[in-house]
């Protein structure tokens, strides 16, 4: 049964907003429906696919499995907050390699990749596997995702190809 609505303060992409929703509502749906940030996707609702990946305190989390109450007053970044124009090194690498097909999984893939690269400057293939295995791509863009992450690592270090 839905719990009574509560006013919760969320800090998304550097903006603080109040939302009035039952506290058990998954963060995903608050981001998508209350805040209108539809770049974060729903794919499974059970932390199995990674389509809903956002950053909470800088770490990649599955927003479908985080109750909104647990995200109150903590910095959240969604795909829309990564850069206004697609200029983040990971987005640039994604463009360079032409990664997306249908694109539906890609915001989640990119958010996972950004979190990986924030902690691991030049990830090995095994590190990429470990960080990205939670993100399903039904179109099968994995080979390009891997290539783009390596490229983004190079871009981030300032080295042009």
């Amino acid at each position: 049964m839905a719990q009574e609505a509560d006013v919760i303060s969320l800090s998304v992409n550097g903006r603080t907003q109040q939302v009035d929703v039952p506290p058990d509502t998954p963060l995903l749906w608050v981001i998508r429906e209350q805040l209108g940030l539809t770049g974060t996707k729903y794919g499974c609702g059970a932390a199995l696919c990674g389509a809903c990946t956002v950053h909470l305190d800088g770490a990649a989390v599955r927003s479908c499995a985080v109750p909104v109450s647990a995200a109150a007053n903590r910095p959240i970044t969604t795909i829309e907050g990564l850069s206004a124009t697609g200029e983040h090194p990971v987005q640039k690498a994604w463009t360079e390699v032409d990664v997306p097909q249908c694109g539906f999984c890609q915001p989640g893939q990119i958010m996972s990749a950004v979190a990986l690269l924030a902690n691991t400057g030049s990830p090995t293939d095994a590190e990429i596997d470990a960080a990205m295995a939670g993100n399903i791509c039904r179109c099968g863009t994995y080979q390009r995702i891997r290539a783009a992450i390596h490229l983004a690592a190079a871009l981030q270090k300032g080295g042009r190809r």
Binding site: E4, T25, A51, A133, R146
Partner: protein, 713 residues
């Protein structure tokens, strides 16, 4: 109610479609789309150029990941001769009068048809537009049109060094007649076709700006989720929504064709409402149907003759002639598409208008569904095709459209109906499960003299009413009836047995299962003959040169025959589907616990002409993953009419840590264009299973691969 942020970007580009002057094409239908707009040159339904030089190209093929936005634009922009990076792309409205596929006659996309069916039409349309611009310039300069040529975005007259941008010719060009047989570019003049062009949709897809069906927001919109009968094809008998209606935020509960819809302010609330519903179901006939019984009945029927789909020579006689006979049974399961974006659609129905926003492969069908359910004429129905989060055949169906239109009609407000992943997997349209019996005979020279293949399973086209049940179902035998090997006595039979599990077109359709069975069994025959499986195939492909060419290319590139590290095996397969030829070599190893690891795919594809080579590769890469997921994991089973899988935990998808290297080699044969969305799938399962045999000596005859069978004792 919580405030809702409306996204005007959604309507940008979709609502604007149709403006402009359209001449020279049959104009039946929606006059609204043909309204005259001054200062716009719009020689046909695909191209508009305005006085500011903005070139708009209308993409009539839904963008489901295959790259239609890019490929359509490449073809039209090339022949029109405009710089591709300055083109605005608009998704076409549902309007079959203007945008039907010229080959199929409907505005519906499946069968890897987007590019191959439109290529000549688009080129002619764009060449006509270019010729009109050239004529307008020639008139202004007083020179013969033949003395003019174009550069991207401009007409030039080299002898006098004069130049006019297309934007400056708009007014004159639109008064000229549309040439019926414009001169097309020669291939050496192509700027984009055949070259690597970056996808036009990438910027929207890496920033979260792209609007998929699920992302549609309309002012005043409600969100609904539908409780569906756990038994396939079951119906609502009665329901009690008392508890549901007490939940704050639940707005309405309505019975619709596909179940009971809970309409709410938000999706999460709608889900809570579903949980509180009490529904009595009329489970229907499928409540008696379970997977083991289906397999048993298939097996029984496989002992009886079927209808002949092909009959060369006398296979029975040749099988009894005393040569070595090889027999095998192959089985494949039901499969669900699992588009990354679960099914959904949005609709708004008023007394005199209906608008649908849908991630659909079938805009024409969506229009027809909305007309049927609302009783409105086509002039009153508008369909916006959003981006599709995957299609794979699933999104040609109408069930999710029916959901949205019915619920929206019932509540009188715009409604988005969203499916959960569980709804999506348990209420799909499944790739048929089949049971297949093979017999082959070898002559004294080691060449096959007979091939007998009986396929038992449900006819997809028959179930969908697209083929009469007294005929052979074309989808059930594709890839088997037209197997390419030159064997004198060859019989392929089909036994139609349909238990009523809803069937659908699953990426590569019949070729998905028949590619596996034919290419696995020919491998068995090769081994029985003591021959190398690649050479055995090649020797039988004398009458199929295009098969042979891709087979040889894949084998060469994969270093076929070269030694492998211990424990690894190579397997090969070649399949024709959707007018394209594809061969794959797989390199696998099998761990002692039976885990199959695919290290590498080397594929060769002949799709006639590769319009955008990098996207040809992308489609083969994607097909490899789709096929490998099915090979290793894909299985839908039914228990008393209930689908037993529900999410990615029990219907797993291949993940990045299991991704093999995929190497794609393109063979531009110069033949007629082939499809690309699907042909990457059928070779995967047989190449992998043949490689498993090479590595372990164990033959996989049932998909998905059962690890236990490969475990070392």
């Amino acid at each position: 109610m919580t405030p809702r942020i409306s996204r005007r970007t959604l309507l940008k580009g979709t609502l604007a479609a149709g403006a402009g002057l359209v001449v020279g094409f049959p104009l039946a239908g929606r006059s609204r789309a043909l309204a005259q707009t001054p200062a716009v040159f719009a020689p046909n339904q695909w191209i508009r150029i305005d006085r500011d030089g903005v070139v708009t190209i209308v993409n009539s093929v839904p963008e489901m990941g295959q790259g239609s936005m890019t490929t359509t634009t490449m073809i039209l922009a090339d022949e029109l001769d405009v710089p591709i990076d300055q083109v605005r792309i608009e998704q076409a409205p549902a309007n079959p009068d203007l945008y039907k596929n010229p080959v199929t006659g409907s505005q519906s996309y499946g069968g890897s048809r987007g590019v191959r069916d439109h290529y000549p039409t688009w080129r002619k349309a764009a060449a006509a537009a270019r010729t009109m611009l050239q004529q307008a310039a020639a008139n202004r300069w007083g020179v013969p049109v033949e003395s003019t040529e174009t550069e991207p975005g401009a007409v030039v007259h080299k002898p006098s060094g004069r130049r006019l941008a297309y934007a400056q010719l708009v007014d004159e060009a639109q008064t000229l007649p549309v040439p019926q047989n414009p001169k097309l570019k020669t291939p050496d003049q192509f700027r984009y076709i055949g070259k690597m062009v970056k996808r036009r949709d990438t910027p929207d897809k890496i920033t979260g700006r792209g609007i998929y069906g699920m992302d549609v927001v309309v002012p005043g919109m409600l969100v609904a989720s539908i409780e569906r009968c756990p038994v396939l094809r079951g119906k609502v008998k009665s329901f009690d929504a008392t508890a549901t209606k007490r939940i704050p935020g639940v707005r309405d509960v309505v019975q619709v064709t596909n179940g009971v819809a809970v309409v709410a302010d938000s999706f999460w609330t709608a889900l809570q409402g579903r949980r509180a519903l009490k529904v009595q179901w009329d489970e229907g006939a499928l409540a008696q149907v379970s997977s083991p019984a289906i397999a048993k009945e298939y097996e029984r029927l496989s002992k009886q003759p079927g209808q002949a789909a092909r009959n060369d020579g006398d296979a029975e006689k040749a099988l009894g002639a005393g040569g070595k006979v090889i027999e095998a049974v192959y089985q494949v399961p039901f499969l669900e598409h699992a588009c990354m974006e679960p099914m959904n659609a949005t609709a708004h129905v008023t007394k005199d208008a209906c608008t649908v926003w849908a991630p659909t492969q079938n805009p024409g069908g969506t229009l027809a569904t909305a007309m049927r359910l609302t009783g409105l004429p086509k002039e009153k129905v508008t369909v916006h095709t959003t981006l599709l989060g995957g299609g794979f055949g699933r999104r040609g169906e109408q069930d999710f459209i029916v959901d949205a239109v019915e619920v929206a009609k019932a509540v009188g407000a715009p409604v988005k109906v969203m499916w959960t992943r569980e709804d999506d997997i348990t209420h799909g349209f499944y790739r048929p499960s089949t049971y297949n019996v093979f017999r082959a005979a070898l002559g004294p020279d080691g060449k096959p003299t007979a091939w007998h293949n009986r396929i038992v399973g449900p006819g997809l086209l028959i179930q969908k009413g697209r083929s009469p049940d007294y005929q052979i179902d074309g989808a059930a035998v594709e890839g088997a009836r037209n197997m390419p090997y030159d064997i004198p006595n060859l019989r392929v039979e089909f036994v139609n047995k349909d238990f009523g599990v809803p069937l659908g077109f699953w990426r590569s359709v019949g070729a998905s299962q028949n590619g596996f069975i034919v290419e696995s069994f020919i491998d068995e025959v090769a081994h029985a003959a003591g021959k190398d499986p690649f050479e055995f195939r090649r020797d039988l492909l004398g009458k199929s040169p295009r098969h042979k060419a891709v087979l040889e290319l894949a084998a060469t590139k994969a270093n076929w025959g070269a030694p492998l590290p211990p424990g690894r095996g190579r397997g090969i397969a070649v399949v024709f589907s959707y007018n394209s030829y594809m061969a794959t070599v797989a390199e696998v190893s099998v761990a002692p616990d039976g885990l199959v690891r695919v290290h590498r795919f080397v594929s060769a594809i002949d799709a006639g002409l590769a319009v955008n080579p990098d996207q040809v590769k992308a489609q083969v890469e994607g097909g490899s993953v789709y096929g490998l997921t099915a090979t290793l994991y894909g299985q839908i089973t039914v228990d008393r009419g209930r689908v037993q899988q529900s999410n990615f935990n029990d219907y797993p998808m291949l993940r990045i840590n299991e991704m093999p290297v995929v190497e794609v080699h393109i063979l531009d044969s110069g033949e007629a264009l082939g499809g690309l969305g699907e042909p990457g799938v059928p070779t995967v399962a047989p190449a992998v299973c043949n490689a498993v045999f090479a590595a372990t000596g164990k033959r996989i005859r049932t998909l998905p691969i059962d690890r236990n069978e490969l475990r070392k004792a």
